[in-house]
Amino acid sequence: MQLVRQGDPRAFETVYDRHGGAAFSLAYRMVGNRVVAEDVVQEAFLSIWRSRLRYESERGSVRSWVLGIVHHRTIDALRRNLTHDRRRTSAEGLEERQEAPERTDVEAARREEARSVRAALETLPDQQTKVIELAYFGGFTHTQIAEMLDMPIGTVKGRMRLGLEKLRRELSGRVGELAV
């Protein structure tokens, strides 16, 4: 990241090559529409390029940092421009799904990592998985989720916290399966 901080486009291109696929996959998973996902990822990477001095290595890996920015940008886009109903009923994304080919060891490792995290998620009680997925991937606030599921806000918040705690414990037992 040192060269990126200094404004080197080639170094930035390397960052995109390493993390652009994961960023696009996350945005696409959240919005279900390739065009919107592309817009969000482009906006996120441009903000990374233009604010590159703000990356702090002690706060986590570059990948987590990049995906955190993409996640926030996607939520902004969802809450600003899109209705959740439209997103849910859009068939476009499903028609255009194009899985990344497993061409390299890195891609194979990423796919295995995804399987491992999903397996950890599957150990959570359904109610905890549901609130976590609605919030993280759906971009819904706890208030909206409480209304949707017809449950008290305190219950929603509690399930989010307990679910993350259980997921953390599950993942700590699978450290060897997670790519860096």
């Binding site: 696009f24 441009l46 703000r54 976590i132 606030t141 997921l167 953390r168």
Partner: protein, 226 residues
């Protein structure tokens, strides 16, 4: 801080990590976090789980057109500036006139933002920012039914022990408003639930955690609304 208040904030940790808090709650939570080592420790533990969530996603190939378009912009950005922007735009005009023109443009931008930015009953104001202190920042104020929401991007995360504070300016009086923070990507939102009747401008300064009763510095953001 009472134990009840602490417990209430502690219950918000999961929702905060999942970006599921309402903007005003998020600002309050971040204010608490700055002063609570116990909540910070739990947050960092649970962050490991939250950070793993995007890794559960099935990988999809990003289109090549996305990279081409992105890198074109990046390479254009990276070209050394031959002359300052104002000079390029207004070459040959005396600097004083350029600055006066720029000030007029800012006013026009605010007015255009005010008049064109809103939907029915809503008004969106583009705020002026102090580029010498927050060079990458942008800010917009959305006014709707007497309440306001200030959205910022490109703002640095406040230093430890600091928070952003909103001020409501009515004539010569400046009244403290809500506090807010920014996330790792420099985005933040401050919700202003009070009646904004009679408010001339919404200002932002950097203050100590917990906020101040009077601004300690000149505003870094200023949104004129009348």
């Amino acid at each position: 801080m009472s134990i009840d208040q602490h417990d209430r904030f502690q219950e918000d940790i999961g929702a905060y990590l999942l970006s599921a808090l309402e903007p005003a709650e998020q600002a309050a939570f971040e204010g608490h976090l700055a002063a609570c080592p116990e909540c910070r420790a739990e947050l960092e533990e649970l962050r490991l789980a939250a950070d793993a969530l995007p890794r559960s996603v099935e990988p999809f190939a990003a289109p090549q057109s996305l990279k081409r378009s992105l890198m074109e912009t990046v390479r254009e950005d990276a070209k050394p500036a031959r002359r300052p922007l104002l000079e390029r735009l207004f070459g040959g005009i005396r600097p004083q006139l350029v600055l006066a023109g720029a000030a007029a443009l800012l006013i026009v931008a605010v007015l255009v933002g005010t008049q064109l930015g809103g939907g029915e009953g809503r008004k969106v104001v583009t705020a002026a920012v102090d580029r010498s202190r927050v060079p990458d920042a942008t800010a917009t104020l959305t006014l709707d039914k007497g309440a306001g929401q200030l959205r910022v991007t490109g703002m640095p995360h406040p230093r430890a022990g600091q928070v952003y504070e909103i001020w409501l300016k009515r004539g010569d009086q400046v009244q403290p408003g809500p506090l807010f923070n920014t996330d790792r990507s420099g985005n933040g939102t401050g919700a202003i639930p009070d009646d904004l009747g009679g408010v001339d401008a919404v200002l932002v300064t950097r203050e100590k955690t917990g906020g101040a009763m009077k601004p300690s510095e000149a505003p870094i953001i200023s949104a004129r609304i009348s």
